[in-house]
């Protein structure tokens, strides 16, 4: 209900054309929704790190043998270098957006497909719903990582980043499908949806005009969760040695850390920054998702 109210006020302000006023409304809302504020701030920090980093470092130094081996941090190499002679600052500047892009594409594909499946199954019900429900239940029992391992084991040259993205996307639709379906099932009983259906609106129109706008905040929250899950799957795959060996993603950086036993050799500069960035990324995504959940469902307010 209050989602609709918030949208209503947003529309009114747009009519007034007071951009500043809208900005203060958003700022005031973020002040109340701490999770969203902190989550977005974390993601912004990563964004700034990458943007500024790209300006001051030569990204080609993310390749092996471009600088000395195992140099500790210095003026030239603020994050030092790894055993194969990559400039670790360049690696992180290149790897962070690479990993995030992977998560974003896989998450977006997963959400889109999942939402379509969820809307169809939830709205039309019947045999389609039964079949899809079983598929989703079975699929969710099996951890995606295990299927990905089998896929990756069978690509001889190892997966490229794009192949990995696509493989993850293939499995990423199951969870969004489940939650969208359950939301549609409850929304379908609401009065305004009933009236729309009784007045002869086609199923597709009801979904697009009535259900979709009301589920929008849920979908955004689900997207963030899907991105996070996709990144997690990618890093897991990479840690197991099934990632793209030539790409300097965050997960591959950690793979090399583990492979070369960097921790017990005391090469702290090699593992500390990627761990920190991954932690910031996951925490940022998690808090953003929690904050968006709260936006979608104000009853959860002050939960965290």
């Amino acid at each position: 209900m209050s989602v609709a109210v918030q949208e209503g006020t947003a529309v009114k302000q747009r009519r007034r054309g007071a951009f500043a006023e809208r900005a203060t409304t958003i700022a005031r809302y973020l002040g109340r929704n701490r999770s969203l504020l902190v989550g977005l701030a974390f993601l912004l920090i990563l964004f700034l790190f990458v943007v500024i980093g790209r300006m001051i470092v030569d990204t080609s130094e993310a390749n092996p043998l471009s600088v000395g081996s195992l140099d500790p941090p210095s003026r030239d190499l603020p994050f030092g270098s790894d055993k194969q002679g990559r400039n670790l600052f360049a690696v992180l500047v290149v790897g962070t957006p690479l990993t995030f892009r992977l998560g974003l594409i896989a998450g977006a594909i997963g959400l889109t497909v999942g939402a379509v499946v969820g809307f169809i199954a939830g709205y039309y019900g019947g045999i389609v719903d039964d079949i899809l429900k079983v598929i989703v239940d079975v699929g969710l029992t099996i951890p995606g990582l295990l299927i990905l391992i089998i896929i990756a084991m069978n690509t001889q040259a190892g997966l490229t980043v794009n192949q990995m993205t696509f493989s993850i996307a293939v499995l990423a639709w199951l969870y969004p499908a489940r939650i969208v379906r359950s939301q549609v099932l409850t929304l379908k009983q609401r009065g305004y949806v009933q009236i729309a259906r009784l007045s002869g609106m086609s199923g597709r129109k009801v979904i697009v005009r009535e259900l979709l706008p009301n589920l929008f905040p849920y979908l955004v929250a689900a997207l963030v969760a899907s991105v996070s899950a996709a990144v997690l799957a990618a890093i897991g795959l990479e840690m197991l040695g099934l990632g793209p060996f030539e790409a300097p993603t965050l997960g591959m950086t950690l793979y090399w850390v583990n492979y070369n036993a960097a921790i017990i050799n005391g090469w702290w500069w090699w593992w500390a920054p990627p761990i920190f960035i991954i932690a910031i990324l996951f925490t940022g995504l998690f808090l953003t998702a929690v904050g968006l959940d709260e936006l979608a469902n104000p009853r959860l307010r002050n939960r965290v």
Partner: protein, 334 residues
């Protein structure tokens, strides 16, 4: 309802297992990977000899592994083998059987997984229950943000930090492995302590991360339950706080917490696999990692199937326990 509940759960279990087996069988055959040739080429590259007669050897191995038969026969054989837990021979460690390798690693993983899951589920649940209780000490509220932030990161990420702090810098715990190299597994107190000492860090990585999640769900459900009329009524009629806490609030929240356990089971297992990898803990995860590095096709396939089977089985068990906790769903004595 009760019988159909049972049948539904059992059907679900069988479906998951069948699907896992089928996917496990067909996915590898979609690609044009030839594990035998790969392995032999790798051996040849290492040894520098046996170049001649390679094709004969491949044919011989294909015959031995049954790779020369039609796909359908292979599939039927495969399903039959799976049902008998015959996961074939390990390619890298021929003539060791995959199931024996899994059997050696299983106790380690099972021990780590069971203890950490039980501890974090109970401890996290209890913590969350107190946080959602209006009369609980206030300091508990401050525990939430750090626990929640930890909950967002993967197990192994915290594991890496723990190795550095507690094993490398402070030297309180061993760096890796399941027991000190040179000692032999035996039934003695000193060996038992050795094993526990090695497992504390991996266990901490899992517990510290997952505890926040359990606390969060428990807390929010506690808050909901405490707002219910029957709790207010119990309070009004003068029941002791403790009685309300245990018999009214926790009793009701137990149900969704158990459901949640069934839902995250898969994540817990894959998370544990990765923790084992970074600690070189001698369980299924490390075995899987070694199998991947040695392109040991059957070993990886066997482990993946075995893990999915375990998850399906554990889910089934939780589903069957559920009616015991929830009197609204009851078994029919059939």
């Amino acid at each position: 309802m009760p019988l159909s509940y049972l049948a539904k759960r059992l059907g679900m279990f069988l479906l998951v297992v069948w699907l896992a087996g089928t996917v496990n069988f067909f996915l590898p055959r979609l690609g044009n990977g030839d594990p035998v040739r790969q392995k032999l080429l790798q051996q040849a590259a290492l040894g520098g000899n046996v170049q001649s007669g390679m094709d004969d050897m491949i044919a011989e191995y294909d015959r031995k592994f049954g790779l020369d038969q039609p796909l359908w026969d292979q599939y039927v054989n495969y399903v039959g083998d799976m049902l008998r837990f015959d996961f074939n021979y390990s390619i890298a460690n021929y003539p060791a059987q995959v199931i024996d390798i899994i059997g050696d690693a299983l106790p380690w993983t099972l021990g780590l997984l069971l203890t950490t899951t039980i501890i974090s589920w109970l401890l996290g649940g209890l913590l969350g229950a107190f946080m959602g209780w209006p009369r609980a000490p206030k300091f508990l509220q401050f525990l939430m943000p750090p626990l929640l932030s930890l909950n967002a990161i993967p197990f192994f990420l915290l594991g890496l930090v723990l190795i550095y702090v507690f094993a490398f810098v402070l030297r309180w715990f061993p760096l890796s492995g399941g027991f000190t190299i040179g000692t032999f597994p035996e039934y003695s107190w000193s060996f038992a302590w050795n094993v526990v000492h090695h497992s504390i860090l991996p266990a901490m990585a899992i517990i510290l991360v997952s505890i926040g999640g359990w606390a969060l769900t428990m807390r929010s459900m506690m808050v909901t339950t405490n707002g219910e009329d029957y709790v207010t009524y119990a309070d009004a009629k003068g029941l002791k706080d403790r009685t309300i806490f245990v018999h009214y609030s926790i009793r009701n929240v137990l149900l969704p917490q158990t459901t949640a356990l069934a839902l995250v089971l898969g994540q817990l297992i894959t998370g544990t696999v990765l923790v084992e990898v970074i600690f070189s803990y001698p369980g299924i995860g490390t075995t899987l990692y070694n199998g991947i590095r040695g392109s040991d096709f059957y070993l990886v396939q066997g482990i993946v199937f075995f893990l999915i089977l375990s998850i399906a089985l554990a889910t089934l068990i939780l589903d069957l326990i559920y009616p015991l906790l929830d009197p609204r769903i009851t078994y029919q004595k059939a």
